[in-house]
């Protein structure tokens, strides 16, 4: 049996090439944006339940609609709605990113990193703008 010239590669998460080593497993922004895309997608699944509740309440009449409205205007209701707005805008922006990737565009490390930061920044800014507009126009 011959002695290997160097250590054979093992699973990336077991490699300890030292800090800054390209062999060392670490978190990448692209992993985070990918996980966030699925998480926000599932959050929007819950959002679809709320939209259906809104439609049912509207169809059921004024009292049911007011009850739904009061629930959504409560602190917990608002927290959920802000989270859903954030999820919607993130999923929209990151989904656009995926569509560009599917077309073969923006796949380089720098481009995907930059578009990931842009998608996250857009979702926060758009959420703030929409809620400022909603509260400013007398929305309850």
């Amino acid at each position: 049996m011959t002695t290997p010239v160097r250590e054979r590669p093992i699973s990336p998460h077991l490699m300890t090439g030292g800090l800054g080593s390209p062999l060392l497993w670490r978190w990448h922004l692209t992993m985070f944006t990918s996980i966030l895309h699925r998480a926000t997608g599932m959050a929007l699944y819950g959002g679809a339940v709320i939209v259906t509740a809104w439609a049912l309440a509207l169809g059921a009449g004024p009292e049911a609609y007011q009850a739904f409205f009061d629930l959504m205007a409560s602190p917990l209701g608002r927290l959920v709605l802000v989270g859903l707005t954030l999820s919607l805008f993130y999923h929209l922006a990151n989904g656009l990113r995926h569509l560009f990737w599917d077309a073969g565009l923006g796949l380089s490390v720098t481009a995907s990193f930059r578009s990931g930061v842009m998608a996250m920044a857009f979702s926060v800014v758009a959420t703030v703008v929409v809620w400022a507009a909603g509260l400013g126009s007398g929305g309850q």
């Binding site: 699925r38 997608g41 599932m42 929007l44 699944y45 679809a48 339940v49 939209v51 259906t52 439609a55 049912l56 509207l58 169809g59 009449g61 004024p62 609609y65 007011q66 409205f69 707005t85 919607l88 929209l92 989904g95 656009l96 995926h98 569509l99 599917d102 929409v130 507009a133 909603g134 126009s137 007398g138 929305g139 309850q140």
Partner: protein, 129 residues
């Protein structure tokens, strides 16, 4: 258990036997449609949040708005079914739990869409007043 199927027959039944890309493409096509639809939905939500019951009924009763809402419900229903399906297929290997969740996913999406579309049409066609 004796399996009378030939290896070729078994191979044809699994994997992308000529139609594997269809679900993938459908998810992306619905995503493209949802770009303008969700932006309109944010506008609609802002209008509805600023008005009471009567204002919301008047908004939904407008033909263009009613059609837009039904389109959003149908396309987003399709898209979320496709997305959740991919997640279930990725993370669940056991056949029983996986099949049960896939069926549940389909039933929940269809039920939610049917309830919402019916309610919107009821309001739009004058049933709420």
């Amino acid at each position: 258990m004796t399996d009378f199927r030939t290896p070729l027959s078994r191979a044809r039944g699994s994997g992308a036997a000529g139609h594997g890309a269809a679900h993938w493409v459908a998810e992306r096509v619905s995503a493209i449609a949802l770009i303008p639809l969700t932006l309109w939905m944010v506008y609609a939500a802002l209008v509805i949040a600023g008005t009471g019951y009567e204002g919301a009924v008047a908004f939904v009763a407008h033909p263009v708005n009613a059609v837009m809402i039904v389109l959003i419900l149908a396309v987003s229903g399709w898209h979320m079914h496709a997305g959740a399906r991919v997640i279930i297929e990725d993370y669940l290997q056991k056949m029983l739990g996986r099949s049960a969740l896939l069926i549940l996913n389909l039933f929940v999406v269809v039920l939610l869409t049917a309830l919402a579309v019916f309610s919107v049409l009821k309001v739009a066609l004058g049933g709420a007043l």
